[in-house]
Amino acid sequence: MIRLAKEYFADQRDDDLKQLGQAFHRSDVPGHVTGKTNYFADRSFPGMLHLKMVRSPHHHARIRSIDTSEAEKHPGVARVLTHKDVPHNVYTILILIQIGPEDEQVLAADKVRWKGEAVVAVLADSERAAQEAAAKVKVDYEVLPAVLDMEAALKPGAPIVNEYHGQNYYRYDSGACRKVRFGDVEKGFAEADHILEQTYRSSPIEQAPAETTGCIVVPEGNDRFTCYTNTQALFFSLDNTSIILQMPGHKLRFVGGTVGGGFGGKVDVTTEPIAILASKLTGRPVSFIYSREEEMQVSSPRAAETIVIKDGVMNDGRIVARYVKGYTDAGAYSRHSPYGAQKGAAHYPGPYTIENVWADTYCVYTNRTPSSAMRGFGVTIADFALEVQMDKLARLIGMDPLEFRFINAYRDGDMKAHRQPTEGAALIECMQEASKAANWPVAEKYLRMSSYKGG
């Protein structure tokens, strides 16, 4: 199924590697396929407690009161945790790279902002007891008007989703959006033979790993805690936990590294801090593992996005202006969405050389399940929008869609909209090979093109 097309870029490679370039079998695969590989959950410790979360049934509500008394009396329950137990209850994970403000409560204190938000953690001897006790927690809610889509969120007078931000979008140092300005788009549109403006949308998507998110925490004799976890980023999770629990990093040891699929779904820090806190307060090992339902409906999905693209194109196939507004639905909290939205700004206008570009990317807050990282976020949906737009533009001017891309493809030395010169381009060669492999003929001049400077 795979073929290495060595004829391309042969002048840029010495094919003299000994251990690399070899199709060795993976040393870990026999363990995976015979069930011998150890994952974090393949551990059990005497006296281990199971944590189940009481979650918000409302998109947006004020919490009037929380009554855990019945749950605490349930047989097998060891401890019930609320926001009052969490040392630094308001957090945001990207604070580690100075992307604030802290905007999310580990356990909801005054409000819930999405359906599924964690409110109370119940710890019991068995999963069943924890589940039964969780059902006995009484939370009195005053339901508030919810903002359920980005358009509504950005309307003047919309209810504020997240008071830590104060407005329903993330404020970058550049303002309400990350901006890219290159050339003069209005001039480009004025010169264009055709203008096409289209809107693209996507819905949230689940990472769907085989192994659900979770961790098992063991209190060690020396006042340290070992956290067996399937996080995608061990120190990132450890450092965030250290902040939330106000516990020095040397008290924490995170063990993992062998994970049953992530796809971005395991870079939020949602299970470790509360499980370690529970272990500290009870002195017992604690297991907190998402059910499949929690994995699919509670853990952060890929964001819903809306992308508006307006292009100016000439009859000869040149795109002379591209204007993009991209909106990322972060849901109620930031998590990784401010990062994803600005990654989109860096990506536009795609792998094409266009002299006039304007891009604005917004990270918008709604009362939706918080979105976060997923394979390619910031780019995947942008590419859907860009490449469908390219197809429409080609047809608009009566040109073959593949030839149209050759005309606009970037090459070494071309200045990108974010003002970096193109290096190491290879789009043209990929399209040349695709033309041959798919028997999609293009004019000979396109097969003679090159990504090299002046090619």
Binding site: R181, F235, Q420
Partner: protein
């Protein structure tokens, strides 16, 4: 009513590593007394095969067979810092850290071998099978096994190295967005053929031909595994997946693999992978990160193929049979009706 065939294309690029940089990874390498090598990391293997590829990178750099290298990862008490496995960064960032650590370890190894052979270290080379010899004089040689023993028990040397890789963080200029998002980019072009049933709106993907440019295929078998899997995920994104099919009504959201729609084995098209290699200047042996990119071009290629087949544009993902049927009906309705 008929099955109609269509074809669509898409071409994309993708940045390697965390957007705007600032994402470090470190590695430590040391030899055992008998010349095996340990690479200590805190990096996470999500199933993509990070451990195998780091073993091959370390082996290539030191000049030993890959099976002599063991990857010890996933413990913050012993492994040096790694920012994490995301953003197509593993091979590029961690691979570069391993190269630096392995280069330092190799230098000590050659110095010890030079003392044993009474020659200059700069005159030595490795044969890749476990021996060190004088350049141009293969008979003047010492095994890495004996070199490690000498280092440990005779010369008192630690054959070890420290490695770190960091792309400095770029801060976007506020008004213009001038910035350096990444140091290298992977590329792809995908052609998809579909059959669309214009009575049911059902789409069958007939074939997917993917061309990927990934810098360097460090292990072609693993490259294939990742790129094929990504291609399938792209089809799944295009045609099936969402957690909230009728949002804001949440009742229809899937809660398990029976309800959450994804393609089954019978829904996966014939998938072809062609790989081009234009080495990245700062890639480990030229490699870029195609892990995320490989799931992207199929999505628009499918959308474009559906238009080619039945003449309707579905600009809202996923492209479900319901959306196609509604669009076909709107297209067939007389103007003004």
């Amino acid at each position: 009513m008929a099955i109609r065939r269509g074809r669509g294309v898409a071409a994309v690029n993708y940045p390697t590593g965390m957007n705007l940089g600032g994402d470090p990874s470190q590695a430590l390498v040391h030899s055992t007394p008998t010349g095996n090598f340990m690479v200590t990391l805190s990096s996470v293997d999500l199933g993509q095969g990070l451990k195998q590829i780091m073993a091959q990178i370390c082996a290539e750099t030191i000049g030993v067979p890959a099976e002599l290298v063991t990857i010890d990862t996933g413990d913050t008490d012993t492994g040096p810092h790694c920012m994490g496995t995301f953003a197509s960064r593993g091979t590029h960032r961690i691979g570069n850290a391993v190269i630096q650590a392995a280069t330092e370890a190799r230098q000590v190894m050659l110095e010890v071998a030079a003392e044993e052979l009474e020659v200059n270290a700069s005159d030595l080379e490795t044969d890749g099978t476990g021996n060190i010899h004088v350049k141009g004089a293969p008979q003047k040689a010492i095994s890495i096994f004996d070199t490690a023993l000498a280092a440990h028990f005779k010369r008192g040397r630690s054959i070890s190295g420290r490695g770190m890789f960091l792309v400095p963080r770029s801060y976007p200029e506020v008004e213009t967005g001038a910035m350096k998002p990444a140091t290298c980019y992977a590329h792809a072009c995908t052609v998809v053929e579909v059959d669309v049933d214009d009575e049911t709106g059902e789409v069958t993907v007939v074939s997917v031909k993917n061309v990927f440019e990934i810098g360097r295929a460090l292990n072609p078998r693993m490259v294939e595994q990742q790129l094929v899997g990504g291609s399938w995920m792209g089809l799944s994104h295009a045609l099936y997946e969402t957690t909230e099919p009728y949002y804001p009504n949440r009742e229809h959201g899937g809660t398990d693999f029976n309800q959450y729609l994804m393609p089954g084995p019978g829904d996966l098209a014939e998938t072809e992978i062609i790989v081009l290699e234009r080495p990245a200047a700062d890639g480990p042996y030229g490699a870029k990160g195609p892990g995320e990119m490989c799931a992207n071009p199929q999505i628009p290629a499918v959308a474009n193929a559906i238009f080619d087949a039945v003449g309707v544009r579905i600009d809202h993902l996923p492209i479900t049979p319901e959306r196609i049927l509604r669009a076909l009906r709107a297209q067939a309705a007389p103007a003004g009706a």
